[in-house]
């Protein structure tokens, strides 16, 4: 199943092989989770929301007509879901004075992946990058996650966010400029 294209897996699911959807979850759980986490900044909440999104994607799979790439469709759902979730959270925040930072998340970086990067970037630097990324305005943080962490193309991002290509470029470069300034101030880019 891992050799199948997304479309082939979806076709199997739609043909009645519900278990095939597991392959989709395996392929995209970390990607969706990272995006959601960048929105909610809380591990448990991000995991729950990510699960909600997969369930919703499964239930609405019949509406995916293959006119776009599956992952742009999936991310569109994710982005809209997160927008609604944030609206709801903001309302609830009025009764929650403060939410503790999710300080444990930095410990949850996959060890093997850190090892890969160990020779280049240490864990402290990653923590600072994450901190500063999360301080960026939502629009810039979101687009840097999609482009510079997940590696999606400008065109894909344009589809996912439903904004034009020029706007994508502007946001990416502005976001990078802001982040570079912040990381320089933290001594990471000297």
């Amino acid at each position: 199943m891992s050799d199948y294209s997304d479309d082939a897996v979806i076709a199997r699911v739609l043909a009645g092989d519900a278990d095939a959807f597991e392959e989709i979850i395996k392929r995209y759980n970390d990607k969706l989770f990272r995006y959601v986490y960048s929105k909610v900044n809380n591990y448990d909440e991000a995991a729950d929301v990510t699960q909600d999104i997969f369930v919703m994607a499964y239930e609405s799979l019949a509406s995916f007509r293959g006119e776009s790439k599956f992952y742009t469709w999936l991310f569109s759902i994710t982005i809209n879901y997160c927008k609604n979730h944030q609206k709801k959270s903001r309302r609830q925040a009025s009764v929650s004075i403060n939410r503790p930072d999710d300080t444990e998340f930095e410990m949850q970086i996959h060890d093997e992946r850190v090892d890969i990067e160990a020779g280049v970037i240490d864990r402290d630097s990653l923590r600072i990058v994450k901190e500063e990324l999360f301080k960026l305005p939502d629009d810039y943080r979101e687009i840097l996650v999609l482009r510079d962490i997940e590696g999606y193309s400008y065109n894909d991002i344009s589809s996912m966010l439903s904004i034009n290509l020029a706007n994508v470029k502007v946001r990416i470069h502005r976001g990078r400029e802001m982040l570079k300034k912040r990381l320089s101030e933290r001594g990471l880019l000297s």
Binding site: D48, V55, S60, Y81
Partner: protein
């Protein structure tokens, strides 16, 4: 004095965004003679490398997440897990909602489930003399909420847009609902798109004698649609409504 390359152009150059040949040549020519811009480019590339390393962030137990999500899908969407760190405190309300889901599920099972296509029709006339209206049960509304059918918010405009796409006549748009009248055939097509709008089903459906249906979607604040902690007793006539409502 030599003009430096703008940040935007260096940023585009750094991540291999397709540039025109002339632009790329111009940047490279400048870089060859400008240490300041080369340093800036190096900083951008280092930042991009660090950002890329954040791919290491992910779910702690991915396999468990996959298993639990599949279990939730097969269980019909109920939350059955925490992925890793269980939250220390669960509100009593959450537990009560879970209990109500069980109760609701039991009632549903007794009644033959969502997709029972048979069952008597309970009818009552509304203001349209041609209409035969299926009454909306209070109990059904409560059960739907408890079952978390109205899982996510959908903007009012999106709901109107959905109805219009199905050639519905918009009857009412209020702060709490959008109502429209749609042909039976379009209504059936629309059934396939409900989930695309966040898993919602229409709050009310009335079947008119001329083959049209009146549908109503809740669009109010989510706080108004919070799952209820109890399911009220359901009159027998409302059971008929529920069966009717879903097909």
């Amino acid at each position: 004095m030599m003009d430096h390359v703008s940040f935007d152009r260096l940023s585009a150059y750094a991540d291999n965004t397709p540039l025109s040949v002339a632009d790329k040549t111009s940047i490279e020519r400048h870089l060859a003679g400008c240490a300041s811009c080369r340093d800036e480019l190096a900083r951008i590339r280092k930042m991009l490398q660090m950002l890329s390393s954040l791919k290491g962030l992910g779910l702690v137990d991915s396999d468990r997440f996959v298993r639990n999500t599949m279990r939730r899908i097969s269980d019909g969407g109920h939350v059955v897990h925490r992925v890793s760190k269980s939250r220390a405190v669960r509100s009593a309300a959450t537990a009560a909602v879970a209990a109500s889901v069980v109760i609701a599920g039991t009632i549903f099972a007794t009644m033959g489930g969502f997709f029972n296509t048979t069952g008597p029709t309970t009818v009552a006339r509304n203001e349209d003399p041609r209409a035969v209206t299926v009454p909306v049960s209070y109990a059904h509304n409560r059960i739907s909420r408890a079952m978390n059918v109205f899982r996510s918010d959908v903007e009012k405009d999106a709901t109107v847009s959905l109805l219009e796409r199905h050639r519905a006549k918009i009857i009412a748009v209020t702060d709490s609902y959008v109502e429209g009248r749609v042909s039976a055939s379009e209504f059936n097509r629309m059934l396939n798109t409900f989930y695309h709008l966040g898993g919602r089903r229409p709050y009310m459906v009335s079947s008119d004698m001329d083959g049209f249906k009146t549908v109503r979607f809740l669009v109010g604040e989510p706080a108004q649609r919070e799952p209820q902690t109890s399911v009220p007793a359901m009159p027998e006539s409302d059971i008929h409504v529920l069966v009717n409502f879903h097909r």
